[in-house]
């Protein structure tokens, strides 16, 4: 059985690895051969869509494989599972402690494939024991609804050892496969590798990302058809007057889209933080390409740069976090690395999760040894100076727990957590760094739908969730507050926006804030659940808005209205999206996908408030945000689709989009409705529960560094009747209130929005200017940067350039002198010689008369002359008598 699981890990990694790499192949193909693919590269759309479709098929296959091998447990409600599960776990653990604990407890953490081989060997050696266990598995499989799965956080060592063996039963334990495909760099202190970490979250996100991406590829094939021929961009006015006329860029769009899919899937499958960082940057660059797709428009290129630069700020923090982790722990791998040493023993090198939440400690969060030692550097130095190196290691090992109790290394863990979260803030547009996302709507709408609402911006939430075991309560509180502030600010801005895409953009920011809030208050499943449902309905909403823009050729909602009759598919699917995002549903019976996810967030926030009364504001923000969400979403829908057309000119040529665009809308609207449903044990929540990091199901108490002590409650507790019911009714009431208000403003016209705007003018202007974030940043960062740049430029021009110019002038003078010497001395010498030779030749040529007789005469004269000369010389030297 375990061997089968080993194969399962290999199968999954192969399937998902292929699904990850196929878009890269598509990117390369379009990059090199795009313009040759049919007229204007029309077929590049098929290549890209085919690639992502294949990825989707592979992901679905992997998903099916996972579901067959690890069927998730049925969702549980109420707290009855807690006690029971705990008892059971302890009993169960003790059974096996006798036989296995000595072997396993020290190293057991995640389900690493190679370890399972070892279990298989041991079980084979122990014969019948293994068989008995097998019976247990099946037993558990039937009973797990009773056990629940809140048990793992409370377990002791034995319980964990148990978990390894029982993983495949859907027991609620953590099941993950990890490994490396290829090591980019290997040194004793660092291994940078391309690897995988696959649990149910990975598989789920693969399906979500590839599914949405496939829909959007199909949609974009219709939406981008303008790019198939030459384009006249009416938003770019040339200096000469007139508008920019350029060739279409159809293949380039799909090329960037394919690269983006590759990068996004790379983040999801990544087995270590370094790989995450690489693909993090890759999605950033893809985003830059796509936002700046219409780069001739100044606004688009500026927005692309803004997105990139703001993300750099976040990535700077992320780098600090990476350094802290690597410097103190020496590894960036999520899971354990198993290798075989020279003597054939298995060597388990713990990954980040095992280091922070070691099995010995029952997977409770503790500061890892590396960080304690790093923080206690001076004491380590003292020990090393006294004791010999060999002994020092042992002495330090003894001292570590004492130092940890003194709180050493806490801050290092906080820095690591905050640093990584900083990167997530940039990518997920959390408040101080949210300014780029609305501007990113300059890109084509399919891009907004895929990159800037459904997937890339969710990468921050995903990473926070993936990294969740390492986050201390201090960090979680910070995350919660950031999320709350973000959701509130973004929602208020969305109230007054008139640009249809910007409303959705701020709505995205707000929903991302919800997710962060959920993660911060301990709702791991809630946050990631909302991430999944949000991906569906927000991409749906964006594609609907794209369809509207495609028909109206304007983004301005004030020029729309009454479009429902002309665009029925778009209008009704968008209504589905709006209902999903506000969490509409019949309480306790059924609802849209957002109903489930938002309820669980609110429930967790309420639980957090009850346990930590001082943080009540988080709950109010979440509840108030729900009302605001409902208001602005229905404001958008009413303004666009209901009432009379405000602009006849626009309304005149509105038409429904082609079926290649509406089909994805329908498909996605189905998902937006159904993504939250559970059929028995089949459901996103249960699947996510399977991926819950070890030790995070229990509550956590801590803090003291950044906040007063807080208790992060266990998520299971929010399923308690009292909390759950309150939260659900609150969500229903706030959402209903929001919808009613919007209807009062824009349908029944009981209240005139313009009057309200005038009455509350300061607030309105404040919101319309987006809380003046851009202006503040402009004054605080951009202007000083420009000033410094101007100073540097003046320094360059005035001082450095003048020195250079002087040097250049001197060289030129020297060269001139040199040239003069060359020309007049060297050349003159040679020329003179040549001239003399030439003149001599000219003179001597007259001697060559061509007259034979004269030559003979010369010969005779010459002979006589030689005779005379010789005789004279002879007579002078030898006296001839």
């Amino acid at each position: 059985m375990e061997l089968v699981e080993t194969d399962l890990g290999a199968t999954l990694s192969t399937l998902l690895g292929l699904a990850w790499l196929i878009p890269l192949a598509s990117f390369a193909a379009i990059l090199f051969f795009g313009p040759k693919m049919g007229p204007h590269g029309r077929n590049s759309a098929w290549v890209a869509t085919g690639a992502i479709g294949t990825s989707l098929a592979l992901s679905l296959f992997a998903f099916g494989t996972w579901m067959v091998n690890h069927p998730p447990a049925v969702a549980h409600h109420g707290d009855h599972g807690d006690v029971h599960g705990e008892d059971h776990g302890e009993e169960h653990g003790k059974e096996h402690d006798d036989s296995h604990a000595n072997n396993h407890s020290a190293e057991a953490t995640n389900r690493v494939a190679a370890r399972l081989v070892r279990f298989a060997e041991e079980q084979a050696a122990e014969g019948g024991h293994g068989d008995r266990e097998h019976g247990d598995h099946e037993h558990d499989g039937h009973e797990h609804s009773d056990e629940g799965h809140g048990d793992e956080g409370h377990g002791d060592e034995g319980q964990h050892a148990d978990s390894v063996e029982h993983g495949d039963t859907g027991h609620g334990e953590k099941i993950a496969y990890s490994g490396d495909w290829y090591a980019l760099y290997r040194s004793p202190s660092l291994v940078l590798s391309i690897g995988w970490y696959i649990d149910s979250l990975t598989v789920l996100l693969f399906v979500v990302v590839t599914f949405i991406a496939t829909c959007i590829h199909v949609y974009a094939t219709g939406y981008m058809h303008d790019e198939l021929h030459d384009v006249t961009d009416h938003e770019v006015t040339l200096a000469a007057g007139g508008h920019l006329h350029r060739p279409g860029r159809f293949p380039r769009f799909f090329q960037a889209l394919s690269l983006f899919c590759f990068s996004m899937l790379g983040i999801v499958i990544a087995g270590n933080l370094a790989m995450v960082f690489i693909f993090w940057e890759l999605v950033g660059i893809c985003s830059w390409f796509l936002i700046g797709f219409y780069f001739e428009r100044k606004s688009a290129s500026t927005a692309a740069n803004k997105a990139f630069i703001v993300n750099r700020v976040g990535d700077f923090g992320m780098l600090i976090g990476l350094m802290a982790l690597w410097g103190a722990l020496g590894t960036l791998h999520f899971g354990d690395t198993v290798s075989v040493d020279a003597e054939g023993h298995q060597v388990v090198e713990p990954g980040l999760f095992s280091l922070v939440r070691p099995a010995e400690n029952g997977h409770a969060l503790q500061v890892p040894d590396g960080m304690v030692v790093a923080a206690a550097a001076s004491r380590v130095g003292n020990i090393a100076s006294v004791v010999s190196p060999e002994d020092a290691r042992a002495v330090i090992a003894e001292q570590v727990s004492g130092w940890r109790a003194m709180g050493m290394g806490n801050w290092l863990l906080v820095v690591a957590g905050l640093g990584i979260f900083c990167g997530c803030m940039g990518k997920s547009a959390q408040v101080p760094l949210h300014v780029w996302l609305p501007d990113a709507m300059e890109g084509p709408t399919p891009v907004s739908a895929l990159v800037h609402s459904a997937t890339m911006v969710a990468a921050g939430v995903y990473l926070t969730g993936r990294f969740y075991p390492v986050l201390t309560p201090d960090v979680l509180v910070v995350i919660a507050y950031i999320g709350a502030i973000t959701l509130f600010i973004a929602a208020t801005i969305a109230l007054v926006c008139t640009d249809i895409k910007r409303v959705l953009a701020y709505s995205t920011v707000s929903q991302l804030g919800y997710m962060m809030l959920a993660l911060g208050v301990g709702g791991w499943v809630a946050g990631l659940f909302h991430l999944v449902t949000h991906a569906f309905f927000k991409s749906l909403l964006f594609m609907c808005s794209g369809s509207v823009i495609h028909a109206c050729h304007t983004n301005d909602m004030r020029r729309m209205g009454g479009l429902l009759k002309k665009m029925p598919y778009t209008g009704w699917t968008m209504l589905v999206g709006c209902l999903a995002i506000i969490g509409a549903g019949v309480p306790f019976v059924i609802g849209f996908s957002g109903y489930y996810s938002k309820d669980s967030i609110l429930a967790q926030a309420l639980l957090f408030r009850q346990i930590n009364p001082s943080h009540a504001i988080l709950w109010y923000a979440a509840a108030g945000g729900a009302a605001l969400t409902a208001f602005y979403m229905f404001r958008l829908w009413f303004m666009t689709f209901i009432g009379e057309p405000r602009d006849q000119e626009v309304a005149a040529h509105v038409h429904e989009s082609p079926s290649v665009m509406t089909t994805p809308l329908v498909v996605l609207s189905v998902m937006a409705v159904a993504a939250g449903w559970s059929l028995g044990s089949l459901g996103v929540v249960n699947l996510l529960e399977q991926a819950r990091p070890l030790g995070t199901a229990a509550g956590m108490t801590g803090g003291g560094l950044l906040t007063a002590a807080v208790t992060v409650p266990a998520e299971a507790a929010s399923h308690a009747e009292a909390i759950h019911v309150t939260a659900t009714w609150t969500a229903f009431a706030t959402a209903g209130l929001g919808v009613l208000l919007a209807a009062a403003f824009y349908v029944w016209r009981v209240v005139n929005p313009a009057v309200i705007a005038t009455t509350l003018r300061p607030v309105y202007v404040f919101l319309e200017n987006k809380w003046y974030f851009d202006e503040i940043y402009n004054w605080i960062f951009v202007k000083p940067a420009h000033g410094i740049a101007m100073l540097a430029s003046a320094n360059d021009r005035g001082i450095i350039d003048s020195i250079l110019h002087l040097a250049a002038w001197l060289s030129r003078q020297l060269a001139a002198i040199d040239a003069w010497i060359d020309r007049f001395l060297v050349d003159g010498l040679i020329n003179t010689l040549a001239n003399v030779t030439w003149t001599m030749g000219l003179r001597l040529r007259h001697v060559q008369t061509g007259r034979l007789r004269q030559y003979v005469m010369f010969i005779v004269v010459g002979t006589v002359a030689i005779f005379l000369l010789a005789s004279m010389m002879l007579s002078a030297t030898v006296a001839i008598p």
Partner: protein
């Protein structure tokens, strides 16, 4: 001295050779007809031959002649042979010149004038 009674010596021959040589040279210089020039060359060679024969002649030099032995006469023979060869080539050249320029006036052969 009496030319008819005094025995003939090498010097006599040398005088004849000198006269022949000089007339040959003068002939080359004076004649504009290419054949005349050729004749001058023949005269020059003949003058040289007279000298060779005289130096190698046992009649004129007695015992001293054995220093040269037959060399003088052999040299004269070669000169005669080469003169014949030279005459043939020169005549061919002259005829070619005549064919090309329709004249045998060497003063007209000044194509290579500087």
């Amino acid at each position: 001295m009496n030319l008819l009674s005094d025995p003939v010596g090498v010097s006599h021959y040398l005088v004849v050779g000198a006269i022949l040589f000089t007339t040959g040279v003068v002939c080359m210089v004076v004649k504009r007809n290419a054949l005349g020039v050729l004749m001058g060359i023949e005269l020059v060679l003949n003058g040289a031959n007279v000298n060779f024969v005289a130096f190698g002649s046992p009649v004129l030099r007695g015992e001293q002649a054995s220093i040269l032995g037959l060399d003088g006469q052999a040299m004269a023979l070669f000169v005669i042979l080469l003169a014949a060869a030279e005459a043939a080539v020169a005549l061919a050249i002259t005829l070619n010149f005549y064919n090309n320029h329709a004249t045998v006036d060497v003063d007209r052969a000044d194509d290579l004038k500087g």
